[in-house]
Amino acid sequence: MRLLNVNLRSFLYYSLLLVLIGVPLFFITIREILEQEIDKTLHLQREEFINHLRNYEYLEDLEVDLHVFDELAYDISIQPASSGSKDEFYETTSLYDSIDREAKPYRVATSYFIVKGKWYKLIMRMSLVESEDLVLVIGLVQTLLVLFLLGGFLLINRSLSKKIWQPFYKTLTKLKAYELNKSESFQYEETRIDEFDDLNAAIRSLTNKNMEVFQQQKEFIENASHELQTPLAILQSKLDLLMQDEALTEEQAALVKDMTNTNQRLSKLNKSLLLLSKIENQQFIDKEDVDITQILRDTILNYQELTATTAPNILTTSPFILQGNKVLLEILVNNLVLNAFQHTTHHDQIKIKLQDGILTIENPGEPFKQGSEKIFERFHKESTNRSSTGLGLAIVKKICDLSGYNLTYAYQSGAHYFRVKF
């Protein structure tokens, strides 16, 4: 999940929790406090009332006075009672208010007292409307405050975070675009934050190191192949001399022949490897106008002169000229065409088409055993022919990859289709 959201999420959960627990808690607490206050007031009122009552205990008509008082007083009720206790009862009830004609909440305190030897029940009540309103307002204000706080923090956090993390995102974008084989050093700007500067510096040194290693590896194959050329040449020269010996027996001659063939394989392999590595090292970058149709014709003509075979079917439109590297294109066409020749006994069954910038070579044959994805891999061999290097198609693929040509292979209705879109 996104960085900013991770930050925010935890905070939101925490805030939400706080609000969900806090606000009701606060609400209840305020209520409790208010209630306690009211109860205390009611209690004090009772005490005062009873105290004051003691002063009037000498009156004869105290009972009647109390009754009158009960009728007149609005929030106080005094009723004679059969018995009583020292206990005081407090409760919240909803009572009907005759003046406003609606039910309102009241805090009611019930207690008993004795005057002139008789028990009286004293009920004192207090309206909770105002205090309820108070609690509501307090609760509302608090909720609003919290919401504003939350909202404000969210927004500030978001915009601040975005600013702070910008260099990080810049680095991330650059990393994504970085390509190892494009040997450019990793560029970055200075930021005001140490950690990001450190990160950038570390990335740069890492990528530079990678490029060095990569370059060395690329050159290694090329250098190794070069080194192999001379010993191969020496070997060949000795074998050529050995062949001249007239005292060779038939068995010896056979051995020399085998050695020569093997050396030939080595040489071919080395040459192909060298070519592959040169192509990869971008040593064929010159471009010129190349006529693919001509290359095609020359290749086929060449092959026919050598092997005197039946001609494949060629379908081409007018000369197809392409801006590209001549050497690479010749190798590409060569390898594809000869690949088809070698795997087909009757060459007139091969169909070669060059149209609209697409070269298609079709030859009938058995499907490849190891699946079509592997045929372009290095050293993959389909034929059991020992002198096949397995690099022919790999070279074709490498050329296509580097030059931006689209190479596809398909097997349909008993025929192999190799297609190159220039």
């Binding site: 020496i234 020269s237 062949m243 022919g392």
Partner: protein, 224 residues
Amino acid sequence: MKVLIVEDEIELAQSMAKFLGSESFICEQAHYYDTALDKITVHDYDCILLDISLPDGNGLLLLEKLKALKKNNGVIIVSAKNSIDDKINGLNLGADDYLAKPFHMAELAARVQAVVRRRLFNGRDILEFNEIKIDTAAMAVTISEKAVPLTRKEYELLIFLLSNKNKVISKNAIAEHLTGDIAEVMDNFDFIYAHIKNLKKKLADAGCPDYIKTIYGLGYKFTT
């Protein structure tokens, strides 16, 4: 004919000298830049085989030296690098040919012969042996003064064989000579047999003795 072999790999230089050497071909060797420089300054050669990747000096400089000395030696650049740039540079500096390692001795011999012929006849390049006469400029073959039509590959094959008289040439060498780059992709050389057979027949029909011999499974030899 005098040939100078400039090659720092002594084994290779020896092999080349041995293969090319005969009564008519004298081979000298130079394994260092300085030795080579001395030799070319003092002597004249019909052909110089020049390895340009000498450890103690660039072989191409020798070419420049030769040009400066206005020597008319034929030069074949022999190189492990097979670099197109080197090829172009070399040919621009006056080299006659460029051969990449590794190569067959027979191929080397054929190239030397070609250079020598061109130098000797100043363009009018004629190859003769007994009744066989080849006009390389016209690409025409006559046997006992009668024109014999050969396909291009048969023609090239004949010249190749004549350039390596009495030498056993492997099928590989012939294949590589005839096909050039394609040899790298082709994997069986049986087609050589067909060409040899056709050539033999044409020579026989024109009245030549049986020069081309098959040597066990090794290859072929143009015997004199």
